[in-house]
């Protein structure tokens, strides 16, 4: 029988799971419809904080209202909470899943897209910002090719301190290389660790929140993010596929 096809998001996730798996990362899941606590408050984004403007949010009309998660960082805090309950001090997880932003869509913006958020924590000094750099250099080399490199820029997210943006140097086939803005990351804020029930004196580590479609678009030269979740089979068939 003729084989069907997997969606490019699935194919990408398999590669990502393999690369991060080799670096000790498990895969975690959490709800797409979240409590305000896990999406914002526990992540050090209190109500009425200007940081809430950084993401346009879909709210339900329930009481209490819930939120369509704006990032899979909500899974990170849930995993940290599990660690605290189990008395663990070391863990590495990624979470691949759909997130939602209430913003106008265009070729590079969708109201729903995927993130592959993740974190690594350990005893103080064991997981540092330099490890974040090492982890991502390795990931991009394995996923996009040996000529990639990354750089950090200072940034701000309420759930990390210090916070950084990660830029990627990528040379598309037949094109000149250039720096691309990829995602935000940083060292987990002590308040986030405390909100999860962990002691920031005993556990520290990094977290990152990249968008999945973006890296897939770069890898395969996909021009429009809206193709991904259109339900259109022409998109899924739009690639030569090789079984490996």
């Amino acid at each position: 029988m003729l084989e069907g096809r997997l969606h490019p998001i699935t194919i990408a996730t398999r590669e990502i799971a393999e690369i991060f798996g080799q670096m000790g990362f498990g895969i975690a899941y959490g709800p797409e419809l979240e409590d305000e606590w896990y999406n914002f408050t526990a992540l050090n984004v209190p109500a009425d904080h200007p940081a809430r403007d950084m993401q346009d949010t879909f709210w339900t009309d329930e009481t209490p209202r819930r939120v369509l998660r704006t990032h899979t960082t909500s899974v990170t805090i849930r995993e940290l909470e599990k660690m605290a309950k189990a008395g663990e001090t070391e863990k590495r997880m990624i979470s691949v899943g759909k997130v939602f932003r209430n913003e106008a869509t265009d070729m590079t913006h969708e109201a729903q897209f995927y993130q592959y958020d993740g974190f690594a924590v350990g005893p103080p000094g064991a997981v540092t910002l330099a490890h974040l750099k090492g982890t991502w250099e390795r990931f991009y080399r394995e996923y996009l090719g040996p000529d990639t490199r990354i750089r950090f820029r200072p940034s701000y997210f309420p759930f990390t301190e210090p916070s950084i943006e990660v830029d990627l140097w990528f040379e598309a086939p037949g094109k000149e290389g250039r720096w691309l803005e990829m995602f935000g990351a940083g060292m987990l804020h002590p308040n986030v660790l405390r909100n999860a029930g962990l002691d920031p004196e005993k556990v520290q580590g990094f977290a990152f929140g990249p968008g999945l479609e973006r890296v897939v678009m770069i890898k395969y030269g996909i021009p429009d993010i809206r193709l991904f979740h259109s339900g259109d089979t022409r998109f899924v068939w739009g690639f030569e596929e090789k079984n490996i």
């Binding site: 996730t13 799971a17 419809l33 106008a104 210090p162 002590p190 022409r234 690639f239």
Partner: protein, 603 residues
């Protein structure tokens, strides 16, 4: 925040580098510059630093630290030349909501001449995209853009005087709006005020003259006839102002600054600078200054943050020396004491963002530069060994996907919003789809319809599209993962955790964009001799079909009476336009001619 290089240069004796170099310095050491052209830089100041950096002084201070060039003169670090505080009987301030109005400094300035601004002031404002209004308003805007303190000036003559001498001649009262209260702002727009909105009012007339921290009111607007003004340099609670701006849908330069909680100390500097500038550009004499400061606690001065060198290097993964850290604190102007490689920093009042040790770690990391961090791979440790990682749930899902792909199904992904559902959104993007899907059925039906229509483009003749989706649905019982297939699948397994399943791996080539224009299909069948080469025949069809042919499938072959019948399906489509039947008929005629010439007998 729009910043002018010329304006920044006023802070330095040393000539600043070119705009692009300033942009790069800021981007890699403090805040992204989104645009840099000519004299203008657009700096994306994020909320943590917005308390001190939404002004030229804040950005100049950062440049001074990053480029290691001294500030000529720091307005926040120069002694206060106190003007004569006039008789408090001239102006009085009452604060009814001390939790929302943290400080109110007011000054009565008499004998000003309202008129156009001098050229330098007009140019400075226009260089950063502001409109010049008059010398007084421009002075308040200039000082705000220079040191970050929002300011306002009211026409004193439009306030009522209290005849009783012990009550002050003018009385400003800061209070919440009352039920049904309205205000017309300087722009002429009328706002109905929710009761939580804080107002600046003329207490003697009991009327609103401004929305606190957001916008001034029309009632006390300056005109060319104005001679006496009341200048406001206040500090309002960030949450109160943010809520008011959101409720009124009125976000202003002032509300943006207050919502990020600048220090109330700044109001003193703002008043000093604006009075000095007003006197320079509009004349006048300070008749009285009042300072009502409910938030004054002394704790501002007491704030200290400690961090050790070990902690700095332990968070960054760096190998910075004590001397390098000291250099960073000196360049940033952060007073510190050090013992046993532990630093105790006393942040200046405007650095409200420096609260925990990690904040200081960030200062060191960004000023010395994140490019100096090594790329260190995570160590392999027992509890996170690759063979120990927990991917069981994910592997279980992938197993079901592989099962379906083996049976010819194509995976799709669709939107989570629906016309109807158990959970609806308060703020849907698409009003026609305000709910969350309770099943994947609707999307599957739609996708299958389209898949059938486009099948000739992606499938061989006779194959029918089979689709599946695994996605989250949101019925009232709670969200769950649903497997939906376009037709029943015998033996379809349920999703179960499977720690050992190895998902199949595929390599994809570059994406080939597809056309959004309609396509046209044509079949052609013909007789060939018994020894026909199918591949060669196909290439004849291909070559004569031209560039508009997007798919060619052989769908039939049989032998009869020493001859072979071959049949092909051709699909035509353009990336640029809709094809016509005539055009495709022409191509088919061309193919027929070519085949006939080679001895094939087209049926």
């Amino acid at each position: 925040m729009k910043v002018s290089r010329t304006w920044l240069q006023r802070y330095f004796d040393t000539p600043l580098p070119a705009t692009e170099a300033i942009a790069e310095a800021l981007t890699f050491h403090v805040a992204e510059v989104e645009e840099a052209e000519g004299d203008l830089l657009d700096v994306k100041v994020l909320p943590d630093r917005a308390g001190y950096m939404l002004c030229h002084r804040g950005i100049a201070k950062e440049l001074s630290a990053i480029l290691n060039i001294p500030l000529k003169d720091d307005p926040l670090n120069t002694p206060f030349p106190m003007w004569d505080i006039g008789s408090p009987t001239l102006l009085q301030v009452e604060i009814e909501e001390p939790k929302k109005c943290l400080r109110y400094r007011g000054a009565l300035v008499k004998g000003v001449n309202v008129g156009p601004s001098p050229e330098w002031l007009r140019e400075a404002l226009e260089a950063v995209g502001q409109r010049s209004i008059n010398n007084i308003v421009d002075a308040t805007n200039y000082v705000m853009l220079n040191i970050g303190q929002p300011l306002h000036a009211f026409d004193a003559a439009k306030l009522m005087k209290n005849p009783s001498a012990d009550r002050g001649k003018y009385t400003i009262k800061v209070r919440n709006a009352r039920e049904g209260e309205k205000i017309t702002t300087l722009s002429g727009d009328e706002y109905a005020l929710p009761e939580s909105v804080l107002l600046i009012t003329d207490a003697n007339a009991d009327s609103a003259i401004g929305i606190a921290g957001v916008k001034g009111g029309k009632a006390a607007e300056l005109t060319e006839a104005t001679t006496d003004i009341i200048v406001e340099a206040a500090n309002f609670d960030g949450t109160a102002i943010r809520r008011a701006a959101q409720a009124l849908k009125l976000v202003t330069d002032a509300s943006l600054r207050f919502q990020n909680r600048p220090s109330p100390e700044l109001a003193g500097y703002g008043m000093r600078d604006v009075i000095s500038l007003i006197r320079e550009v509009a004349g006048g004499e300070v008749a009285g200054v009042v300072d009502t400061y409910p938030a004054r606690s002394g704790s501002e001065q007491e704030r200290k943050v400690s961090v050790s060198l070990e902690k700095i290097n332990g968070v960054l993964g760096s190998d910075f020396s004590k001397e390098e850290v000291i250099d960073v604190f000196n360049r940033l102007g952060l007073p510190y004491s050090e013992s046993n490689e532990t630093f105790e920093v006393t942040p200046p009042f405007e650095r409200t963002d420096l609260v925990i040790p990690e904040d200081l770690v960030e200062e060191v990391g960004r000023i010395l530069g994140y490019d100096r961090l090594p790329a260190t791979e995570l160590p392999c440790r027992d509890v996170v060994r690759p063979d120990m990682v927990d991917q069981a749930k994910w592997r279980g899902i992938e197993k079901v996907k592989d099962f379906l792909v083996e049976r010819g199904f194509v995976e799709i992904s669709t939107q989570s919003f629906a016309a109807k559902g158990d959970i609806t959104l308060a703020n849907p993007l698409d009003k026609a789809k305000p709910a969350l899907r309770t099943s994947l059925d609707e999307n599957m039906k739609e996708a299958l319809e389209r898949a059938k229509y486009v099948a000739p483009l992606v499938l061989a003749p006779g194959e029918k599209p089979k689709l599946f989706e695994i996605g989250t649905v949101f019925p009232k019982e709670g969200e769950r993962l649903e497997i939906k297939t376009s037709e029943p699948v015998p033996g379809l397994p349920a999703i179960e955790d499977d720690a050992s399943y190895e998902p199949k791996r595929y390599q994809l080539g570059a994406f080939k964009p597809f056309s959004l224009y309609p396509f046209i299909t044509r079949d052609i069948a013909f007789w060939a001799s018994a020894d026909v080469d199918d591949g060669f025949t196909k290439s004849i069809v291909q070559e004569n079909a031209g560039e508009l042919l997007v798919r060619l499938d052989q769908f039939d072959r049989f032998e009869k009476e020493g001859k072979v019948s071959l049949a092909y399906r051709l699909v035509f489509q353009s990336m640029e336009r809709t094809l016509t039947d005539d055009e495709v008929n022409g191509i088919m005629a061309q193919i027929t001619t070519a085949l006939t010439a080679k001895g094939y007998e087209v049926r």
